[in-house]
């Protein structure tokens, strides 16, 4: 005796649609945009893609060029500023004092000096080819630079003043 337990096609379709919908919505859980998000941005002409470890290398001058071979001009925010401290904490993974020590050591060893500083980092990368910098989302402006990636804010980001 042949017994068939085929589910109705409509049920299958409904399940598939539901599954797709679930898969699309549940895991993604869109990251909330936060003004304290750190946006790693570069000059619009830069075509390379880099990760956070490479950004760290570039800002510590362990790496001098983009993966494509072009020169990188990292632009720092002013030492001691909220933006610089957040970049140190979230990307360089060092403190203000540790970064100063790092540059003092490298200056004596090999004349390696810290990247230049500009108060308006986003302005600096606007026309300077090969430049790379960071900015809080609150200060970010669409269309003036290319966003490489975003380092999300965390609880500590809200300490020590506004962006």
């Amino acid at each position: 005796m042949h017994t068939s337990h085929k589910p109705p096609i409509a049920s299958l379709l409904a399940a598939a649609v539901l599954g797709l919908a679930m898969s699309g919505s549940t895991p993604v859980q869109a990251q909330k945009e936060d003004p304290y998000d750190l946006m790693i941005v570069c000059n619009k002409a830069v075509k390379d893609n880099i990760d956070v470890a490479t950004v760290r290398d570039l800002f510590l001058r362990k790496r001098l060029t983009w993966p494509s071979g072009a020169n990188v001009v990292p632009i720092n925010a002013s030492m001691g500023s909220k933006l610089r401290r957040e970049f140190q904490r979230r990307v360089l993974l060092i403190t203000d004092a540790e970064e100063t020590k790092y540059w003092e050591k490298n200056k004596i060893m090999s004349a390696l000096t810290a990247p230049p500083e500009f108060e308006g980092t986003l302005r600096a990368v606007f026309k300077l080819s090969g430049s790379l910098t960071y900015v809080f989302r609150a200060q970010f402006k669409e269309g003036v630079s290319r966003v490489m990636f975003v380092v999300p804010s965390d609880e500590k980001s809200y300490e020590g003043g506004k962006p």
Partner: protein
Amino acid sequence: MRRIPSPRLWSELVKESPTEQFETNSVWSQGATTRRIRRYVEEKQRSERPNSAEMRPRRFFHKLSALGISAALATSWSAPAWSQETIDSDPQPAAPQAPSEATAAQAGDAPTLESLQKRVEELELQQEDQEMEAFEATAGEMTSFKPTFSVYGFLTVSLMRAWISKNNILYNLMHDKLSFAISNVNLYFHSRMTQSLSAMVELYFTFAPQGRESYMPYGRLDTTVTESSTLRQHVLGGVAIERAQATWQRFDFLGVTVGRFITPYGVWNVEHGATVFLPLIPPYVMANHILPNAQTGLMIHGRFFPHSGIYLDYAITAANNRSDVEASLDFSDNKALGLRLQLRYEHPKFGVSLGGYGYWGQVDIQQKEEQIDLSVPTIHISSKSRDKHTELTGALDLVVTGYGVRLQAEYARSLVTYDVHAQRIAPYFDVVFEGSYIPDHVRSDGYLMLAYELPLEKLLGDMTLTPFILLEQSIAEDANKSSNAYDYRAGLNFKPSSYWVLKLEGSMMWAPDSVYLKSKIYYVGAQAAVSF
């Protein structure tokens, strides 16, 4: 009828929304502010949305009032126009109103949702255009690389005292009284002319040869001079060129340095500055010059990135062979060659570095004699080697860091093979032992240093206090055990800031196989090293 949020919602909006802070911060934040406020109000209203069906009609008005506020705020940025015409029940806060809406309201013609949306979008576009113009105007200067030039350096002041027993040959030969000394005044001139091209000169100022002693007969050099016009006395010293190099580095994997550069071997030699390395006195591996501390020539160097956090550095050196004039001359057409390889793994909390340097050189120290024949007349200069040997040296270095601990070790071993054996010279006395020649030999130096940065962040903040111990062995000539020396050191390195270091160190040196140096030598030293 409510067209704007309630006073409670408004106060929450101002208090909670971080966008409030940005309005004064950036010229372009107001468009974003408008959007954020609108979004915030909508989200807030959604979250407070009543479930009761009878409350539904209020949703439309909430949305409308949110847009009304947004539009009004946006308008107020460019052309302040404050009006409370649309507020019918709540007298506060005074919400700004767009002129068109205000006019419409006055005329009894209530704005529709679509018209408000359109107006907000128009204002945002207008605002962004203005912001972009302002941005371009201020960003115009930063369009190209700017050359840099900087002068900096470091200096050290030391205070040292040694204790040498009377049965040691160094008694009264080596200075043992408590003395201050300016042991380093190093000045750097560095310029980055283009993104790829840089140059650096490091000058070392010294009081030497002031106080230099010589024996047989004894004499001590006094370089003090009196200026005739002012009668001021000056101690003349010297200037040594530590480094004078130009570097082209267009790619990470390829750079070229020419000039006088530091030999890329070991840890200590590369760290170079007293503000960088932990102890006070350099190890024998440097003091004995088992490898040249600096070379004059060409270095090709670069870095590869095999994996995130892993660096593979290389350097190939071709330079003058060692001699008493190697900084500017070579007595051989052959050049001393070296290869440096270093593999590093770096993590914010942990790091390992393993390096090696191989060096091959031919030393030919020539002595010249002139022969003058007055009858012709002619002059003939002849030269002959008084020391010709080949040196093949290998050096290894290891550094492991993590959780405040630093383990550092270096070892160098050199094979010296003579073609023309050099005569043995007594150190300090510069006296040649006639008939005594140095045989082919192997020499080696190695040290191990263990340091621990004490976890005193709560007490010292960013200052660091690092005790260390260092054990060292030096074999100057394997066939002559009397030259074997051992050094045991312990010290403390205190770094109050990035710019200065205070060091305290005690040491015991011992040459157990030497008849003349058998008794131990002790010294205690303190140093302040400052970079500027």
